[in-house]
């Protein structure tokens, strides 16, 4: 086996970073009056190349680079491809959704691409310091993107809230890393996994685990660390929400999987009940709060909290089954959530004059295509068969049952029923025929027609098509992605010293 040059281990990240630098340089050298939209295409092309680079990494022998700080394996490739796919869809969506006169468009695209560096690196990190810096990169870029609509009151509010609470949570993670270092004398995940069971100071390690869980669970917006979610989703522009509700979350879940399954597998008796409680809390709090929302984006924010809960249910599964179920759920969740926010972007526009559920009344009649897309993604979020959401929930809950957490699965199923209520409310509202004789509806009709809406171009069609295709593929032929998730789970569990040659041709994830 020939040694792999270190640079190949971080090839997608390098491509992302180069793309970001290229965007900044081109942005600075273009005359100020020129449109900045082509920069978005540069970002999209760079993301596509990074996606291929991630897939190419499968041909590398599995192993670590840069003094055992980053890893390439089926696990990292799975999440790299997922994140590249999400970033690509978000970029395509932004290309058409950003109004012509948006400020600093070059910086907008560059921030998305640099954020992707952090997210990808986070999934590949096997050294806690790399993970910490990668998490900061992905977080800070999303803090900034969340406040992009400076002229509104809600934009800066979202950014400030997200920033303050996010920094607070990161401090917990860092404290946890410091305690792990204190207990084991290293921050390398494999070494910690070897040293931790024999370490003298189990109480120190347990405290470290608890603090790190707080930090990571904040990032995935699980209850009780979820309070930032609705405000941020409401204040951030919809294309940004499509990104920040999925990609950083996928990366944070990858870190969570690594921390619990790879770093502290021997503390299963501790983190499994903790995550059980968090899963139940997230589902219940998310769904109950979502029932009461009038604003579509706030409702979807609470639904995202509930989905984090369903996902955490998979962590009750034993070993590889749990990891594979969680990885599959992340892919399914990302596909449908990006899709629904794409539809919200197209309905409400960048400035969001139509933000309430009632504003969606008669959407199916006003714009049949948008209406049916909305209903399609909502059905997937409910978890009805032939959509990705169904198999995601199915694998997650069956992993929980397999792990002996039958009550967790029962609570999850009850919650899914509860969640159907608010998703169906939006479906019913969208499918209601607008009563043209009623004056309020007539005014709503004209408001809908008058609202500035992004021009539907090739980019946004491609974005929505990718999201629909991914949701359908995950719902009808989940086999390929499930195989990829299982080989990913296998590499996460494999002992670090044995270098297993990469699986010959695992089917690439659907996205």
């Amino acid at each position: 086996m020939t040694p792999v040059h270190d640079i190949y281990r971080i090839l997608p990240e390098v491509i992302f970073a180069l793309t970001g630098v290229a965007i900044m340089l081109i942005d600075a050298s273009l005359p100020p009056s020129w449109p900045r939209r082509p920069l978005g295409w540069v970002a999209a092309i760079g993301t596509t190349i990074a996606l291929w680079a991630s897939l190419w990494q499968l041909s590398l022998p599995e192993g670590t680079g840069f003094f055992s700080t980053v890893e390439t394996s089926a696990f990292t490739v799975f999440f790299h491809v997922l994140i590249c796919g999400i970033v690509l869809v978000a970029l395509l969506l932004s290309l058409d959704a950003l109004p012509e006169d948006t400020h600093h468009q070059g910086e907008f695209y560059a921030l998305i691409v640099f954020g992707a560096v952090g997210m990808c690196l986070l999934t590949g990190a096997v050294e806690l310091l790399v993970a910490f810096i990668a998490l900061e990169i992905s977080s800070i870029s999303t803090y900034i993107l969340a406040g992009w609509r400076k002229h509104t009151g809600r934009g800066p509010e979202a950014a400030i809230k997200y920033f303050l609470l996010g920094s607070f949570a990161t401090a917990f993670l860092l404290y946890g890393i410091a305690l792990v270092f204190g207990a084991t004398g290293t921050t390398q995940i494999y070494q910690i996994a070897q040293l931790a069971p024999a370490a003298q100071n189990q109480s120190l390690i347990i405290a470290a685990l608890a603090l790190m869980l707080v930090g990571i669970l904040f990032k995935v917006s699980a209850a009780p660390f979820h309070v930032w979610t609705p405000d941020v989703y409401e204040g951030a522009p919809s294309p940004v929400v499509a990104l920040l509700s999925t990609a950083p979350k996928a990366a944070a879940f990858a870190l969570l999987l690594r921390v619990v399954y790879e770093m502290f597998p021997n503390l299963h008796y501790l983190w499994a009940p903790l995550l059980w409680i968090v899963a139940v809390l997230s589902m219940t709090v998310g769904n109950l709060a979502a029932l009461r929302q009038q604003n579509v984006k706030r409702m979807l924010a609470y639904s995202a909290i509930a989905h984090a809960g369903y996902l955490l249910a998979a962590f009750a599964g034993i070993g590889e089954i749990g990891i594979a179920a969680a990885a599959f759920y992340i892919a399914a969740y990302a596909a449908m959530n990006v899709g629904i926010f794409a539809v919200v972007t197209l309905v409400a526009g960048y400035d969001e004059q139509l933000s309430l559920i009632d504003d969606y009344r008669g959407l199916v009649y006003r714009s049949p295509l948008l209406g049916s897309l909305l209903i399609f993604f909502l059905i997937s979020l409910i978890g009805i068969p032939f959509t990705g959401g169904f198999f995601g929930k199915f694998y997650s809950f069956s992993a929980a049952v397999g792990g002996g957490a039958i009550w967790l699965a029962v609570i999850g199923l009850l919650n899914s029923g509860l969640a159907a209520a608010y998703y169906l409310r939006l479906v019913v509202v969208a499918a209601q025929r607008p009563l043209l004789d009623s004056s309020s509806d007539a005014s709503a009709d004209s408001a809908f027609a008058a609202a500035p809406r992004p021009a539907v171009g090739a980019a946004v069609i491609a974005a929505v098509f990718l999201a629909v295709a991914a949701t359908l593929v995950l719902g009808i032929i989940p086999g390929a992605t499930l195989d990829a998730a299982q080989s990913a789970a296998h590499t996460l569990q494999a002992p670090p010293q044995t270098t297993v040659p990469a699986v010959a041709d695992p089917a690439p994830p659907a996205r």
Binding site: S33, F67, T69, A134, I140, A207
Partner: protein
């Protein structure tokens, strides 16, 4: 001698930190942060981490704090306002912080296998080697990747500052604004 210094500066550090939280005026808080940072530097020095101590003084007490006070002065931030929410937050927050630190302190105090600290001597695990050597070995060898990736982090922060703080004149296109300058 070292013990006296330790208790003196540990006391300063704690007093500064508590004062920082209690002050309502941001500039007073910023000034007490200087006390905290500088006393921490003395504690590092006592533990034999002389490079860290110097860096702490130059970077934190120096650069960061100057920036901090500048920002506070430029924003002309007034006295902190007490609202219902902030009062409730401080009522719940202080006991919560005390409880959290009590738990952490209990855990840290019960940790076995940690030897006593030797004040005023070099690092006990690498006698005869300077801090600088050890640090650069770690920073440019084992932790090369995180060190390099930090540049992306800083770049993002700069991009964000430009994008969020740069005021564009209502709807004037950028070309005209450049021409006006």
């Amino acid at each position: 001698m070292h013990l006296i210094l330790f208790f003196l500066f540990a006391g300063f550090c704690l007093a500064g930190a508590i004062n920082l939280l209690l002050q309502t005026h941001p500039i007073n808080s910023a000034l007490s942060l200087i006390v905290v940072m500088t006393s921490l530097a003395v504690l590092y020095l006592l533990l034999g981490a002389e490079f860290l101590a110097i860096a702490q003084i130059i970077v934190y007490s120096g650069a960061v704090m100057v920036l901090f006070t500048f920002v506070v002065m430029l924003l002309n931030a007034g006295r902190e306002e007490r609202t219902l929410g902030s009062r409730a937050a401080s009522r719940i927050g202080f006991p919560a912080v005390v409880a959290l630190f009590a738990i952490l302190a209990t855990i840290l105090l019960h940790v076995q296998g940690l030897g006593a600290a030797h004040l005023g001597e070099g690092l006990s695990n690498a006698p005869g080697q300077s801090n600088l050597e050890l640090l650069s070995q770690v920073l440019f060898h084992e932790l090369l990747l995180p060190f390099e990736v930090t540049s992306v982090l800083i770049l993002i922060a700069i991009l964000g500052a430009v994008a969020l703080a740069h005021v564009e004149g209502s709807k004037i296109p950028e070309s005209e604004r450049v021409a006006q300058k």
